[in-house]
């Protein structure tokens, strides 16, 4: 098998429903035979990506190639892919055998050649029966052919759905959260089964899930998606050990995420302590996010370490204890096989290799606005007060408004704020939460707040006039920073 062969390629794919963008300029390729997982929170666009590959949605922009052939405009019934749906989608009026045979009965295969023209034929009854029985055997349901599909359990129905898709021998199998409706034990079993089928058949699998554990255990490659954009494409190990940004670190596994400053290559300062680390290539004094996995922190009483703290909670998790240690006002999550009682004064040790440095997604919110009068500026669909100290700005001036993370007030009642917004994300950073707010017009505010906000809640936004910076736009260096790439 040529592992470098791209079986699927998405080039600059975008999808909007109405004026709501769901997938934004997404490019991605998948190699033949790979098990690729699209991982992300619900509503991040991962299922839409899969449905575009299947042909149920047409991209608003961009192209999709399968085996080098542009299939963007080809309907689903002519694509060499098959899908396994979350809710099985078996045909209730057909028995198990006929469900699996459905695709085979329609399929045409080259039979012979006449004057350079290939003549196609359908499978014979015997061929279909043989293939269906082999598929049933593969999913361990050999004697179930003449059962009514409604009489089967969820797990059995999903096996039939998988058999129905695989029997057509697609180039790519698409799986849309196929195990989402099953209970935990069944899910674990099916994970192993799917992995086995992938190994034995050598078909490319594209798997969509929001379950990070599932993604890490099953995949060759994980594509982390958030907000319609790819955050990171890597092997499961790389995703876990080297998350590219705070979102990935927070989404994958437990983690301590802190803000710090890169003093120089391989030296980082956070919580008032300078620590050696393995990362470099940042600007001097660049603001960074730091992730430390809970199992990488050494905890001891009076041992070696950089942080002194006190155990404030401890929960037994089956094979280890998960403790919260308050050190210098930061709450570290620590996992260890031995337990430390509440109130124990402990020392935490962090080795250079367990510190992972990430670029900040954004260091300041920046928007284009317009001065309304001496005191107010119009941005993001609302007019906010600002401090026009030198009064060089005049009505109608186009300006860049820079809003530091601590200049935003989040209000419980949407109507108390100048504009309303929805909470998109919340990342705990030990001493505070970093919250992403999305306005109705689609602008994002990153906000540092001591309080926890529930995702998808509606809130009001107020800006603290003294803390926002308003600059005239004709300054070429003040390009708005709105992209995650820009830093």
């Amino acid at each position: 098998m040529d592992t470098e062969e791209k079986i699927i390629e998405l080039i600059g794919v975008e999808k909007s429903f109405g004026d709501k963008p769901v997938v934004k300029n997404l490019s991605l390729y998948i190699r033949k035979g790979e098990f690729v997982t699209l991982l992300g929170p619900s509503g991040c666009g991962k299922t839409t990506v899969l449905r575009m590959i299947a042909g149920f949605e047409t991209p608003t922009k961009g192209r999709i190639l399968i085996g080098g052939e542009d299939i963007t405009a080809i309907p689903p019934y002519r694509r060499p892919v098959n899908t396994v749906f979350q809710k099985y989608a078996l045909f209730p009026h057909l028995n198990v055998f006929n469900n699996i045979a459905f695709g085979l009965k329609l399929k045409k295969i080259p039979a012979s050649e006449k004057n350079g023209k290939t003549i196609y034929r359908h499978f014979t009854k015997e061929e279909i029966a043989e293939k269906v029985n082999r598929a049933l055997k593969m999913v361990d349901l050999e004697d179930y052919g003449y059962r009514n599909v409604n009489s089967l359990s969820g797990g059995q129905q999903q096996r039939i759905a998988i058999a129905r898709a695989l029997v057509c021998e697609p180039k790519v199998l698409l799986l849309d959260e196929p195990l989402g409706a099953l209970d935990l034990k069944m899910r674990k079993e099916m994970q192993i089964e799917l992995k086995r089928m992938h190994r034995e058949l050598g078909i490319t699998f594209i798997y969509v899930t929001h379950d990070q554990e599932e993604a890490l255990t099953m995949s060759d490659t994980v594509v982390v998606i958030n907000d319609g954009q790819i955050q990171q494409i890597d092997t499961p190990k790389e995703i876990y050990d080297e998350p590219k940004n705070a979102f990935v670190a927070n989404f994958i596994g437990e983690s301590n995420i802190l803000s710090g400053t890169m003093l120089k290559d391989r030296l980082v300062k956070f919580l008032g302590v300078s620590l050696p680390c393995m990362d470099g290539g940042f600007h001097k004094n660049e603001q960074v996010d730091i992730v430390i996995r809970p199992e990488d922190i050494a905890i001891s009483v009076g041992g070696e370490g950089q942080f002194k703290g006190e155990v404030i909670s401890s929960v037994f998790k089956g094979t280890y204890y998960e403790m919260i240690v308050l050190a210098d006002s930061y709450e570290f999550t620590v996992q260890n096989t031995s337990n430390f009682n509440l109130g124990t004064k402990v020392v935490l040790g962090v080795s250079p290799s367990s510190i992972h440095i990430m670029r900040k997604i954004r260091t300041i919110n920046s928007f284009v606005g317009e001065v309304e009068d001496e005191e107010t500026v119009w941005l993001c669909g609302g007019s906010f007060k600002f401090n026009n100290a030198d009064e060089t700005l005049e009505k109608g001036d186009e300006v860049i408004v820079k809003v530091p993370f601590d200049a935003v007030e989040i209000l419980d009642d949407e109507n108390d704020g100048v504009i309303g917004a929805k909470v998109k994300q919340s990342v705990y950073k030990g001493t505070y939460y970093q919250v992403q707010l999305r306005t109705d017009r689609g602008e994002d505010f990153l906000v540092d707040t001591p309080y926890e906000w529930n995702i998808n809640d509606r809130v009001g936004i107020n800006l603290i006039p003294e803390k926002i910076i308003v600059e005239k736009i004709d300054d070429a260096e003040n390009e708005p920073i709105t992209d995650s790439e820009a830093d």
Binding site: G55, Y77, R78, F85, Q86, A89, F91, G103, N148, A161
Partner: protein, 279 residues
């Protein structure tokens, strides 16, 4: 267990209400069925001896037989057309955008709530317009009645098919496309089989409504000399209703009852099949 007197009274009242309600529903039917086997001139007369003579007479009454034939022809054809139209319309409405769907959905149901007499007059005036103003070669006829009945019963088919359509797993149609079936084939092999039950119910409802209809049929058969069972009975009431009508009513009732029983037996059998064949 000792019951308080008050609870006994409540129990008696409960049963009494039930009996009265059931009697109100079934007494008229029972009387018709019973008197269909009696030679009495009208219901309430002395019963006399048990006889099938009314059934014999029924098959000799040419007028009544032709009315029955008309009723069946109009009913079956219009219900079939309504089922086809209604199902197609339901599928179309189901896949519309939200806004236009709401509009079409509501407007398709207007004839249901509209007073029947208004609809009937509408058809009547439309025919006059077509015939006398546009001078088209059309007239009140059995075809016109079939068209009218189709139009008034189609919304009822939409009403029975639409909910079933909403219950369908939307992924089954996608699965069909995904497995290589084109849109038309998917419609016939995946969607319609799942709608079959609702379509049968819709057909039955449309047929019953057509069978029952008097207002539209009466107004729109003027000058065409077409009688259906309902117009025949109605015009007979004012003159003299032939006793055979009792036999006809009993036959209709029997057919309805038998179809209902058969329908339930099939339904139970299907339910058992889908649940109980785990060995």
């Amino acid at each position: 267990m000792n019951k308080k007197p008050s609870s006994i009274v409540a129990l008696i009242v409960k049963w009494l209400v039930l009996i009265i309600v059931l009697a109100a529903i079934y007494l008229p039917l029972i009387m018709i069925v019973a008197y269909s086997f009696s030679p009495a001139r009208s219901i309430g007369d002395e019963f006399g001896t048990f006889t099938l003579s009314l059934y014999g007479k029924l098959f000799e009454n040419e007028k009544l037989l032709s009315a029955t034939r008309n009723t069946l022809v109009i009913g079956i054809i219009s219900a079939t057309l309504a089922t086809l139209l209604g199902t197609t319309a339901s599928i179309g409405i189901h896949y519309m955008r939200k806004k236009s769907r709401a509009i079409i959905d509501a407007s398709s149901q207007i004839t249901i709530v509209n007073a029947e007499i208004v609809t009937a007059m509408g058809f009547f005036l439309l025919m006059l317009f077509l015939r006398d103003t546009l001078l088209l070669p059309v007239n009140f006829s059995i075809t016109w009645l079939i068209i009218a009945h189709t139009v008034i019963t189609t919304p009822y088919v939409i009403l029975t098919v639409s909910p079933r359509l909403k219950q369908l797993n939307p992924n089954t149609l996608e699965a069909s496309l995904d497995l290589g079936a084109g849109p038309m084939r998917s419609l016939f092999t995946v969607m319609l089989p799942q709608l079959a039950g609702a379509m049968v119910s819709g057909f039955a409802l449309a047929f019953t409504l057509s069978l029952d209809d008097f207002v539209i049929t009466n107004i729109n058969s003027i000058g065409a000399d077409i009688e259906t069972i309902s117009t025949f009975v109605y015009s007979g009431i004012r003159k003299k209703l032939p006793s055979e009508i009792r036999a006809l009513s009993t036959l209709i009732f029997a057919v309805v009852l038998i179809s209902l029983i058969v329908y339930n037996i099939i339904k139970n059998k299907n339910a058992k099949n889908s649940k109980g064949d785990k060995k």
